[in-house]
Amino acid sequence: MNLRRDVFQAIADPTRRAILLLVASQSMTAGAIAANFDTARPTVSKHLQILTECELLNQEQNGREIYYQLNAKKMKEVAEFIEPFRKIWDDRFNKLETIMKNYKPKK
Amino acid sequence: MGLKTKMHAEEGKQDLIITREFDLPVELVFKAHVDPELIVQWKTLPNTTAKILKFGGKKHGSYQMQSTDAQGKIVSSVSGVIHEFIPNQKMIRTFEVENAPIGVQLEIYDFERLTDNTSKLSMHVIYESGAIRDQLLKMPGASGYTMGMAHDRMQELMNKFK
């Protein structure tokens, strides 16, 4: 029985990806998160549950409210998360090298 | 005295935050930070005289300041660029001490109006590394207490303009 939620499966959903981006810079309550979507509140709650189960989101109690925040550590455990970022720079540097190898100064 | 200024440096980080409330309208606190003739009167190292060689008080300006001792010898020289400049609200600049192995700092000044006659300054200073930040925190001149004394001087100086 697979109790641990698969991280990649969790982020395959566009609403869940959007939730992760929302809370990336500041923790938010479920209500504040739901206000950003046209989706029904119970559906958003289900997304939050999935993200919490696979540990992409942490919960923190502040008074009577529960705040959701991004578990950046979990995000980084999956190295592929920064691969696209690395690839962007790799492509740029490959291009730089090619351009400058062919560079001839104008006299 | 000197204790009103608070410094918060979390362990393991490479930045720190300095905060201070002033009995001054926010406009005067901002002015004290961007008017060269005022800066040299309060933002000085102990036992030195400050001189501003250049201060472009605007977005994408740059600045250079020197401190000399009683004999006129140059003790320190600092310079940097101004990345953002929003009057009475925000100033973002780089800061570097010439010929010192402490690298460059990014400084974000937030000026906040509290009431007509009081305001709050928050300085977020980010260093090239946690090691450099920690090294600086150990030095006598860089402590929050020294910054606090400078802030006290600034409060007194700007009281005249109220």
Partner: protein, 160 residues
């Protein structure tokens, strides 16, 4: 295949390092960063064309860049100042993406000669906070997933 470009982003830090060795003399590597026409060339890709609206390649100079898509729409603008500009050695600058929630970055580029024909670039990027760094680092991944997902949706839509 060996990864030539390395990204080092330590957990809980507000900085990242990008390093890369080049089959270029250090002077050529630096030149590619110091001349706007060259920067435009290697920063551009099929989806976004980079253009330097302003570029004062010197200490205390300022720069402003723009990126447009295939239809000529401005995708983003960036601006900043050169705090330091030492030929063939070092460029220190501020960087900010306009109208974006990523804050200001402090970037330190170090150019190192390895041999007469090889050199190394070390980019040290420092952010205002840890979450901002993480957000920027993971954005291309999120965008990539979005693009892949949209394509899948498109394909599924067509097959109905």
């Amino acid at each position: 295949m060996e990864q030539k470009t390395k990204v080092n982003a330590e957990d809980g830090k507000q900085e990242l390092m990008i390093t890369r060795e080049f089959d270029l003399p250090v002077e050529m590597l630096f030149k590619a960063h110091a001349e706007p026409e060259l920067v435009e060339q290697w920063m551009s890709n099929p989806f976004a064309t980079a253009k330097m609206l302003k570029f004062e390649g010197k200490k205390h100079g300022c720069y402003q860049g723009e990126s447009t898509d295939a239809n000529g729409n401005v995708v983003f603008r960036s601006n900043g100042m050169f705090h330091e500009f030492i030929p063939n050695r070092k460029i220190t600058r501020t960087f900010e993406m306009e109208n974006a929630p990523f804050g200001v970055q402090l970037e330190i580029y170090e150019f190192e000669k390895l041999t007469d024909n090889t050199s190394k670039l070390n980019m040290h990027v420092i952010f205002e906070s840890v979450p901002l760094r993480d957000q920027l680092l993971q954005l291309p991944f999120a965008q990539g997933i979005n693009m892949a997902h949209d394509r899948i949706q498109e394909i599924l839509g067509k097959s109905k």
